[in-house]
């Protein structure tokens, strides 16, 4: 039963990543692209957690934790660059 749930979740997350990619290319403003990238990171974390469940391997959570940290820093750095024209002032 968990196997079917995992297949369904893989399909949902792939579709979600495709929708995010559409918003990333479409824009129209730069803020929309930042939101799309932020959401892509969230969905990628969910995908990594799901791969960990599918393979029954707990090591994948370290990768998910790292991506959670780096994704947040990336979003804030992008916003800072748009707001101030510089990241580290």
């Amino acid at each position: 039963m968990i196997g079917y749930a995992v297949i369904f979740a893989f399909a949902c997350l792939s579709l979600a990543l495709g929708l995010n990619l559409w918003r990333l290319f479409r824009g129209p403003t730069i803020g929309d692209r930042i939101v799309a990238l932020d959401t892509m990171v969230i969905n990628a974390i969910a995908l990594i957690v799901l791969i960990g469940i599918a393979r029954a391997n707990a090591v994948y959570f370290e990768a998910a934790l790292l991506l959670a940290m780096v994704g947040f820093v990336g979003t804030v750095a992008y916003c800072k660059f748009v707001l101030r024209g510089d990241i580290v002032e």
């Binding site: 403003t29 803020g31 930042i34 939101v35 969910a46 707990a58 959570f61 998910a64 804030v76």
Partner: protein, 138 residues
């Protein structure tokens, strides 16, 4: 019997989490402007990823008989950082509207009205005297 119940709960958590992630991304595509689009992915962050992580905690308890707290760390970190990222993106939106974006990008609610009192929104103002930002730029 308990194993069967646990398996059903894990499956439900995974399905619910993936559904909310999909709904959040659909909201990102469907909603009209940036201020509304910020609303959709919050569902993917909290309910979607939260459900997926709770499902994986229960799955590893069921499958390998171990409790792992890593998932809760991820949840905690995301719950702390999501509002900060949303605040920064909203500031980008306000400043791009102020810098002359087409006004229809303001969305149904329009640009936010100025706050009561003499001061403008804090993000529009120059740094005040003797604050850390002002003193670091001298």
């Amino acid at each position: 019997m308990i194993a069967l119940v646990a398996e059903i709960v894990v499956s439900l958590m995974i399905v619910a989490g993936a559904s909310f992630a999909l709904i959040g991304s659909w909201g990102l595509v469907r909603l009209p402007t940036l201020m509304e689009r910020l609303h959709g992915p919050t569902k993917a962050t909290t309910l979607g990823l939260g459900g997926m992580l709770v499902g994986s905690v229960l799955f590893f308890r069921l499958d390998q008989n171990l409790w792992s707290a890593h998932e809760l760390l991820i949840t905690l970190f995301l719950f702390i950082t999501a509002p900060i990222a949303a605040n920064m993106i909203a500031k980008v939106h306000l400043h791009s509207l102020r810098a002359g974006d087409p006004p229809d990008n303001a969305g149904p609610a329009g640009t936010p009205p100025p706050p009561p009192g003499a001061a403008d929104w804090a993000t529009y103002e120059a740094p005040h005297r003797d604050t850390p930002v002002a003193t670091s730029e001298t």
